[in-house]
């Protein structure tokens, strides 16, 4: 009996496999945060005056806020003056195509198994690679532009489509929303901008690989996706980070806007450095992700596979404003060793006949703590709103924790809200059965975990799902399993 626990421990305590650092000359701001730094960032990016003022306003607001402490995580106090708020890899030449990409940068992507060339050739995925805050390669732009689709870095959008950025930036996550969103608004470095015009179905998955590089650089990504009436887009975000010693703060903001009959599918596979076995190092991932179904019959679907970060604080949410709109949240959150995750979603039902579905699968291993925190809110005029929530927890070993904090607020009595929750352990019987069929314990755990997460993995686009399965295996082999 104890033998299996031992094996579980062994496989749940292996080291992070993607730790390496690319040596690229960085162009950085000095440590610390003040109005001059905000101005430095804005100037670096040649931003228009209105955006600088927006940033400054956010910064001044941030100064009035205090860091939230209600979440079920513990970490030493962050010294915000000890962080570099801007760092960009210096491209040696201006890039016109993928072939001109910095070879070292390319090698990094190759190590991660996400060669842009291959992506380009095999999957038809347009990749906007974000490395240390600045987009270094954007593909398929021409092809997308033919249909009026804009897919570029946010900095570029600020220059080329300022009217769109001005209209939508901060429209879903206001700069005053929360501590980390305010910080992001003040110092955001770059991110993606997607605009799908009326009636256009984006012909390919849009994808960004985020990667934190340059030691000590906080990452403040900002992504904005706007889908006009009757349009469709599927967006993929994936991350891995190099191993390092100091904690890194990552406070991203993602905003989605879906108009009448539009659909946005946002998928994330996140594998940032989780810290070593003692929990040292690792990324603090404090993210604000929110979408608004502003139009009738619109749909926003979040799918996330979270395996990395030492601390995850993240609640991708949907505001169901348009009548008949649909919000979905599919999540797999894996915590291992000393990782802590407090993640979930918010579904805010405002429009009539709005529907939401939440499927959350938590996996805790090692000494980690994994919390699901979700809010389902049905407003007064949301006639016939429906919600279904399922929150499952899987425990590996006997030193980890799983917690569920479901909040339900219903102000309209025509609503139907369902909540189901289960907690299970990987059974030794299951592992032995697999062993007897020739499947080693690690592979068995991977198999069982993938089975457990199937409902969520099924939501991911094919090539991403395969990657996610691998990732689950590595992080539980990790631990996974």
């Amino acid at each position: 009996m104890s033998e299996n626990i031992k094996i579980l421990e062994e496989i749940t305590s292996s080291e992070y496999k993607y730790g390496f650092e690319t040596k690229i000359e960085a162009d950085s701001a000095p440590k610390g945060l003040n109005e001059d730094i905000v101005k430095f960032i804005s100037a670096k990016k040649n931003e228009p005056q209105w955006l600088l003022e927006w940033r400054l306003k956010a910064y001044r607001h941030w100064l009035t806020l205090t860091e939230p402490n209600w979440q079920n995580v513990n970490y030493p106090k962050i010294n915000y003056q000890d962080i570099i708020y801007y760092s960009a890899p210096k491209p040696k030449v201006k890039l016109n195509s993928l072939d001109e990409i910095d070879p070292e940068l390319k090698a990094t992507f190759d190590k991660l198994g996400i060669s842009l060339d291959e992506q380009k050739r095999l999957s038809g995925v347009a990749v906007d690679a974000v490395m240390d805050s600045v987009s270094v390669a954007t593909t398929y732009k021409g092809k997308l532009a033919e249909q009026g689709i804009i897919f570029c870095s946010l900095s570029e959008a600020v220059q080329e489509h300022p009217e769109l950025v001005k209209k939508y930036l901060g429209s879903v996550v206001p700069m005053t929303d929360n501590y980390f969103a305010a910080l992001n608004s003040a110092v955001f470095s770059d991110g993606s901008f997607v605009f799908i015009p009326k009636g256009v179905r984006c012909p390919m998955e849009l994808s960004t690989y985020f990667r934190i590089n340059a030691a000590n650089t906080g990452q403040f990504e900002r992504t904005l996706i706007v889908a006009e009436d009757s349009s469709y887009v599927s967006y993929l975000e994936g991350c891995t980070a190099p191993m390092r010693d100091e904690n890194q703060l990552h406070a991203a903001v993602v905003e989605l806007v879906a108009m009448d009959n539009a659909e946005i599918k946002y998928s994330t596979v996140q594998n940032w450095y989780p810290g070593d076995k003692e929990g040292k190092g690792g990324i603090y991932n404090f993210v604000t992700k929110r979408g608004i179904c502003s139009g009738v019959n619109s749909k926003i679907s979040w799918t996330q596979v979270e395996t990395g970060s030492s601390i995850t604080w993240k609640y991708p949410s949907v505001i169901l404003k348009g009548d008949n709109s649909i919000g979905e949240f599919y999540s797999v959150a894996v915590t291992n060793n000393m990782q802590q995750a407090d993640t979930g979603t918010k579904m805010i039902h405002i429009g009539k006949n709005t529907r939401s579905r939440i499927v959350s699968k938590g996996i805790s291993a090692g000494k980690s703590q994994n919390s699901y925190r979700g809010l389902v809110e049905v407003m007064k005029r949301a006639e016939n709103a429906r919600n279904f929530s399922q929150c499952d927890s899987l425990l590996m070993g006997d030193k980890c924790g799983a917690h569920t904090f479901p909040y339900i607020e219903v102000k309209n009595n025509t609503a139907t809200v369902e909540h189901e929750a289960t907690t299970s352990k990987i059974g030794e019987d299951q592992i032995f059965y697999c062993n007897q069929r020739g499947i080693g314990t690690e592979a068995a755990v991977a198999l069982i975990v993938n089975g457990y997460c199937k409902e969520v993995l099924n939501q991911l686009p094919m090539e991403f799902a395969v990657e996610a399965q691998k990732l689950l295996a590595i992080s539980l082999e990790g631990s996974v399993g």
């Binding site: 059965y433 697999c434 007897q436 069929r437 020739g438 993938n450 409902e455």
Partner: protein, 254 residues
Amino acid sequence: MLKIKDLKASVDGKEILKGINLEVKAGEVHAIMGPNGSGKSTLASVLAGREDYEVTGGSVEFLGKDLLDLAPEERAGEGVFLAFQYPVEIPGVSNTNFLKTAVNEIRQYRKQEPLDSVTFLNIMKEKMKLVEIDQALLKRSLNEGFSGGEKKRNEIFQMAMLEPKLSILDETDSGLDIDALRIVANGVNKLKSKETASIVVTHYQRLLDYIVPDFVHVLYNGRIVKSGTKELALELEEKGYDWIKNEVKAGSAV
């Protein structure tokens, strides 16, 4: 093929197997019978390598290797298969996916190339006929919501797919109606060859009407107390296990 010498095993400090001696040669079918609690299933589990059981003495040689020295998955790779009395359920993992993983893990152990999907599916179709298994069952999650009969049939199907050298059937007949029993037994018989051997653990004689054993051993109180040919099974059926118990008590059988 298999040489068990003076095998002793205990669980939670309680000795269950008190010195088992058994030799199985290629091409043979051995039946192991005995009353409840005699150690039949323990023997099957120990051979498969279940950790709950502690081997306290003796040796097991399988095709020249020390079986007890191998991890359960290595034993499977060497060709030991256990058809479980209570097959487990694994939600979300399709039967097909599970089998493909198992087949390729075993192939890897044997340093063979993994099977591609097309070849795998063709082999699967062929073996499906052997055990008359419904295709719908293969798409479902492993054993989840399967009836008792379906689970047992699935065990035999896995056996067909994995092509073991030594198959151990642990009370495969329990919970089966007569039709299912016939199908399962037919499957086992079709898989029989000169190169393979089976150990059939059963409580009742009726399975042996379909799977005819070359040898029958009676396990009682952790020891094989009587061995014979298939007639022994019939005799047991007629006289009941009390006959054995009494013989043992009288000291004549040991």
